[in-house]
């Protein structure tokens, strides 16, 4: 079986909508799927009855339809055929469609993404998603915080949209492409929302947000969520940007502050005010010690905040999101974690991951041990590895040939 991600929320609404925009062969293909319903007979009737009643708890039945259809499409999944009709109809690899690109500043843009099957838009404000974009035939993945607020109620099941807001980094490979090179209509891949840099529900009574540059994104989702629920507690938000022109979401933030007297917005423009040092928090927000604090921005700012809150013995009330976690410089060797077997080891840049795993007593898959058979592939969850044959680097979220690769920095292998 292909690795299947059976969606917990097969959107039957989408199945129903399917009849609309189809033509010719597509209709024929759809008919084939319809035939699968015939096989389940009575169960299909049951699905219909529930649909008419508006009962959304169709999951078991949807799974039944899906599994019968899978008998017809084996060794593939129904999704492998359905996404040929509509690219969003596959939960095997979750897909998204870029519907709009909204410029925010001269080097940042918001991407509105229509999410496909398997993506539930009831994420928690502050979480991030993985986004995969095919560039020159290869899927590249990066993480981006969701800047939109989660949809609530029924719409969350399918067909929703989310937004991410990307700042083009100088010479940034993916960010520049996302901000400038992506056409609306492009199909991207998505990884489910994750992360614990989130706003609790209900939010704490006193909050401090400190954001810098594109670090505004997860906090924007939190602000928007509280705004929509119309329950903004006592919030102080300090945002740093190089200047007014580069301050992302400035108009919206100022409007929010106007609409909610409990929200105080403090802006720092580095060009005019100088970089905002952590020592100035005291003066801007004297009661910072009493506040649950969320900080997101450039690494030096986060390091300073971490130190400051630790010294005040308040590490518990500080929440930090690092954007640059994945940008480990290619190094020689590193600390390698074999996540499933729970083994860890420090490696040099010449030991192959295969040898290292075997030395730890892990049952590593292998074949030729010379890089031609691909028997030894293992998913790389985090970090960077290097192909010893040609120096090619492989980043997280791909499978690597362990027999010819070595650690180039700390990494995590899923085995």
């Amino acid at each position: 079986m292909p690795s299947t991600t059976t969606t917990p929320t097969t959107p039957l609404t989408t199945l129903k909508e399917r009849g609309r925009a189809l033509t010719g062969t597509q209709k024929l293909a759809t008919a084939a799927l319809g035939a699968s319903a015939a096989v389940v007979g009575a169960t299909a009737l049951e699905v219909k009855r529930r649909l008419l009643q508006g009962d959304v708890s169709l999951v078991p039945n949807a799974d039944l339809v899906r599994s019968v259809a899978a008998r017809m499409t084996t060794p593939l999944l129904p999704d492998d055929y359905l996404h040929m009709l509509n690219p969003l109809w596959s939960a095997r690899e979750i897909r998204g469609k870029i519907v709009e690109l909204i410029p925010e500043t001269e080097d940042a843009a918001t991407l509105v993404i229509k999410t496909g099957w398997g993506f539930a838009t009831d994420y928690q404000p502050g979480q991030y998603i993985g986004i995969g974009v095919s560039i020159d035939g290869k899927w590249h993945w990066r993480s981006y915080s969701i800047s939109s607020e989660p949809s609530e109620g029924r719409r969350q099941r399918s067909g929703g949209t989310i937004t991410i807001t990307v700042k083009a980094m100088p010479e940034g490979f993916m960010s520049a492409h996302l901000v400038r090179g992506l056409e609306p209509g492009t199909i991207v891949r998505l990884a489910l929302p994750q992360g614990d840099f989130v706003l609790p529900d209900p939010p704490p009574p006193k909050i401090l947000f400190w954001t810098g540059g594109s670090g505004i994104t997860p906090v924007m989702s939190m602000l928007r969520t509280m705004h929509r629920r119309d329950t903004i507690p006592d919030v102080v938000h300090i945002h740093s940007a190089p200047n007014r022109g580069q301050a992302i979401f400035r108009d919206e933030r100022l409007k929010l502050a106007e609409a909610h007297p409990t929200l105080r917005m403090v802006e720092n423009f580095d060009d005019e005010d100088g970089i905002l040092e952590v020592s100035r928090i005291e003066e801007i927000c004297p009661d910072w010690r009493e506040r649950q604090t969320w900080v997101c921005g450039p690494a030096p700012m986060l390091d300073a905040a971490e130190k400051h809150w630790q010294q005040a013995k308040l590490a518990k009330s500080l929440h930090i999101e690092r954007f640059s976690a994945q940008l480990s410089e290619a190094a020689e060797g590193g600390h390698v974690t074999f996540a499933v077997s729970g083994k860890e080891v420090d490696l040099d840049g010449a030991t192959t991951l295969l040898e290292a795993g075997e030395a730890e007593g892990i049952d590593m898959p292998f074949g030729c041990r010379m890089g031609i058979c691909h028997s030894c592939i293992v998913p790389l969850k985090k970090g960077l590895v290097k192909d010893l044959r040609n120096g090619a680097e492989y980043q997280q979220n791909q499978s690597v040939q362990t027999c010819v690769t070595a650690a180039a920095g700390d990494c995590v292998l899923e085995i």
Partner: protein, 397 residues
């Protein structure tokens, strides 16, 4: 006679062999650097065409009680299955498209439309066959454990049944492939771990149930009144696929000129010598682009064996460079029209039904002291004209 030292056989000095190895490495690097959107588009497009063919074929067969629909549906299904098994499945499972980082088109997740589980295929084929290519006693693809395809395999009275086994294997090829990784030879010698055997059989059974269920139960049932005709159509499509794959695959290493090797060759074999063994042990065939695609690019068997995990759509351009290297180093590049290559295979199988005079047991093993080094290796045409593996005497003559 199997070769125990590729360099000697090819009358190349060690430094020549290493230089040749570097040239092959360079081809690999160039293609690795060049692969991109074009290659991704190639495999995607092929997958789309193949899936559309399958859907169209299945739908047409709902009307299979009408003979034209039966013929059209069977044809589409057969071609769909051939494309899936050969150009798509086989090549994707080799990891040729792993660089795309797409889990939906990846050697780690691909499962193909045959009764053979992908995981077992990857073991017996990607690893054993492609690593120990043509090493008699190590590579089970030399005769697939039931046929004698080279004189280096000792004759046994059971070989008298070869014409029958061969025909059966062609007809039931899918099933032969499904059982291949069990390693009949080791089972026969009682060397196989019964636990492992059980696990493999279970895995095969799970796959078989699904494949058979789809082709012989679910789709015939869905066709209602066309039950029987859909059943025969599906069986025919599978049969056509079997015969085609059998023929193509047998043309890879059994035609004249594709050498066999002894286990001695493997000792201290360098990467360069490995390349050379792949080159000497494989045979191409010629044909149109369409033929090559339907053959899963196995008409470029030589290029495939040199670079099993480079994208198959690149083999034609790689072939040009490999041919040039063969000229440069005066090495054979075995190829010919498909009918002739298969004709040679068939003749060999028939011939080896009977014990051969040049039985390896009766011959001197080839070793360093034999006067082969420096002797003129027979030309390609001489090799072809000879028909059948070459005893060393002939090579020296």
């Amino acid at each position: 006679m199997a070769i125990s030292d590729v360099a000697t056989f090819a009358h190349l000095s060690d430094s020549d062999v290493e230089a040749l190895g570097r040239e092959f490495d360079e081809i690999r690097r160039d293609i690795e650097e060049a692969r991109g959107a074009k290659d991704a588009a190639y495999i995607r497009r092929l997958i789309y065409i193949q899936r559309r063919l399958m859907v169209a074929g299945r739908l047409t067969l709902f009307a299979s009680m009408y003979p034209p629909a039966w013929v059209a549906g069977t044809g589409m299904l057969a071609i769909g299955k051939i494309l899936e098994n050969m150009e798509i499945g086989h090549n994707v499972m080799h990891g040729q498209f792993d660089w795309m980082n797409d889990p939906e088109i990846h050697s780690g997740t691909w499962e193909w439309d045959t009764t053979c589980p992908a995981s077992q295929w990857k073991h017996s084929h990607n690893f054993l066959h492609h690593t120990f290519t043509n090493v008699v006693g190590k590579d089970n693809d030399v005769g697939y454990g039931i046929l004698r395809v080279t004189r280096d395999q000792k004759w046994h009275p059971a070989n008298l049944g070869q014409p029958v086994y061969n025909a059966l294997l062609a007809l039931l090829f899918e099933w032969g492939v499904a059982l291949h990784d069990l390693d009949i030879e080791r089972i026969r010698k009682r060397e196989k771990d019964p636990q492992e055997l059980k696990r493999q059989l279970k895995e095969i059974w799970r796959k078989v149930r699904k494949q058979v269920g789809k082709d012989y139960v679910i789709f015939p049932l869905l066709s209602g009144p066309a039950f029987a005709t859909t059943l025969t159509a599906n069986a025919t499509a599978n049969l056509i696929r079997n015969l085609w794959s059998y023929m193509i695959i047998f043309c890879g290493h059994f035609p004249d000129g594709a050498e066999k090797f002894t286990e001695e060759e493997l000792e201290d074999e360098t990467k360069a010598e490995w390349y050379l063994r792949q080159l000497l042990g494989s045979a191409n065939f010629e044909g149109s682009r369409l033929l090559h695609i339907l053959a899963g690019s196995l008409g470029y068997q030589i290029e495939h064996h040199l670079f099993p995990d480079l994208p198959c759509n690149r083999y034609p351009e790689i072939a040009e460079r490999v041919k040039a290297l063969c000229e440069k180093y005066d090495l054979p590049y075995t190829t010919g029209p498909l009918y002739r290559q298969y004709g040679q295979v068939f003749r060999t199988i028939m011939k080896l039904t009977l014990p051969t005079k040049a039985d390896p047991n009766e011959m001197q093993p080839l070793n360093e002291s034999q006067p082969l080094r420096g002797a003129k290796r027979p030309s390609r045409d001489e090799l072809r004209a000879y028909g059948g593996p070459l005893p060393p005497q002939a090579a020296v003559a």
